[in-house]
Amino acid sequence: MFLAVKEIRHEKLRYGLIISMIVLIGYLMFMLMGMMLGLANENTAAIDSWDAKSVVLNKNSNISLSQSLIAKQDLPNLNGHQALVGQTPAVIERAKGATDKQTIQFVGLDSSQFIYQKKMKLSSGHKPHGKNQVVLDEGLKSKGYRLGDQITLNGSTQKYRVVGFAKDAKLNIASIVYGNLTTWQTLKGTGDQFAASGIFSDQKQTVKNKNLKQYSIGTFIEKLPGYAAQNMTFEFMIAFLMVISLIVITVFLYILTMQKIPNYAVLRAQGIPAAYLIGATIGQAVILMVSGTLGALLLMIVSKAAMPSSVPMLINWPLTGILSLALVVLGVAGSLLPVRMISRIDPLDAMR
């Protein structure tokens, strides 16, 4: 480490530029991951907040909550771990005053069941009582919606009062408006012959009705429209970026080591063991990668703070930690090529 630290401190510009490059690569990876997680979270935040483990849908719905309808006669006897959810896309608008129309996901709940009782986390107000009250995703505050506002759904004359704002109320990258199942039936236009879109549970469910089928939440989420393709795109971008960064960092370390060969040959001639010089090179790679990664993390935190809340970005610290570690490990792995070069330095080169 001694040689590594001394050289970095003496060659501030050169190593500053290399660290800057690592900072930028790391920053790009962290931002991509943050946005991937942010988008993924906006797809599934509500389902995650319900702690659901399984869902029962109409078997012909192609595992789509929007396409699923559960007829009342197919409805099983529900236990305390099951909750009906009626979901449909809708458009909300303030009944008075100017506010842009917003496309939302309306979610109708039964007030006697576990999602309404235990899982609806409010940031302000209270849960909806009766068919004329709704709770909005707190993200809609930034669109001008306030407690006590009257809203309309899909342009109907029926008005609903906003009585609360909920946290983590996002589904398919749209804000949720929580109401009751009667309102859902009205919006969906199904009348009362259908009970809900699906039955969510925080346990595994058994289904005996041939019109219904149970799915794990993992399967259900993977089938959310665009979810898997979007995540896979981001994952490939991050993976490619990691491979490219490994190559770039390796090339940099290789060139740096090449430039030091005459110095290292002199040190070898003086009896400094190759292992010491290899240690210095690996130590230098560790310092560069750790400094660059810390810089990238700092930049990501600052960017997150400066970003408008409408940009979906989520920092998952355990995952960020793993990605940081991977970046450092890959960078150090990249220093193994120059290490091979050092082990082959001929002390005789010092005399040439």
């Binding site: 040689l3 003496h10 010491y276 002390p347």
Partner: protein, 226 residues
């Protein structure tokens, strides 16, 4: 006392028809407290002689004896240790790292050296060589002469028995040659080292205790007043 002895050294490069004999039956002794000058023109084999004496490469045949041990048979690691502990090199390039201050050039040796090097000894060495005020300077902030003194101090720091110097007066004017010659002589006398200087510079003859001539790979001892 003999510090290093080379016995019947032969060194060939290449094989078969392209074989070139660079050193032929070279025998040589360097004694503590003496400055031995090895003279020869370019291509005479003097650099090969120095690298074999310094354990940087092995001879094709013959022995390199330090403390009675033939270091030419040593492993690379053992030869590293010999170079670190028993041989000091003063190279043309002064063998200083550009990014280490004068103090750090010695700190590096401290970190690698197995034995305990004394800070008092270093301080004394720097004072004696007149470079104790330069410890925070980097090589590019020093004159050529100051760099050379640092390189000499660096070579002496581990208290080796043998100092090998490669063309220490290359490209120096006559006044500077005298200064370097005196320095090499002092190094031998004051610190009781066997100093071997390989050079083509005849101006150093005035400072030598023994003079050897290498010509076409063969070494002969020359009289001092020749």
């Amino acid at each position: 006392m003999t510090a290093i002895e080379l016995k019947n050294i032969n060194k060939d490069y290449g094989t078969g028809i392209s074989k070139v004999q660079v050193l032929s039956d070279v025998s040589f002794k360097a004694h503590s407290g003496e400055l031995s000058l090895v003279l020869g023109p370019s291509g005479s084999g003097k650099s090969t002689f120095l690298t074999i004496a310094g354990g940087l490469q092995r001879p094709t045949s013959g022995q390199v004896l330090i403390d009675g041990q033939d270091i030419s048979r040593f492993s690379e690691k053992q030869r590293d240790e010999i170079r670190l502990n028993q041989i000091g090199f003063v190279l043309q390039s002064y063998n200083l790292l550009s990014y280490l201050s004068v103090a750090d050039q010695f700190a590096l040796v401290d970190r690698v050296h197995k034995g305990n090097l004394s800070p008092d000894r270093l301080e004394k060495l720097l004072q004696e060589l007149g470079i104790d005020q330069l410890v925070n300077k980097f090589p590019d902030e020093l004159s050529g002469g100051q760099n050379q003194r640092v390189a000499i101090a660096r070579a002496l720091y581990t208290d080796p028995a043998i100092i090998l110097a490669d063309e220490p007066t290359a490209a120096l004017d006559s006044e500077r040659v005298k200064v370097v010659g005196r320095l090499m002589k002092e190094m031998a006398k004051q610190y009781d080292k066997a100093v071997v200087v390989v050079t083509h510079d005849l101006r150093l003859k005035d400072f030598a205790d023994r003079i050897y001539q290498i010509m076409d790979g063969k070494m002969t001892e020359q009289p001092l007043n020749a």
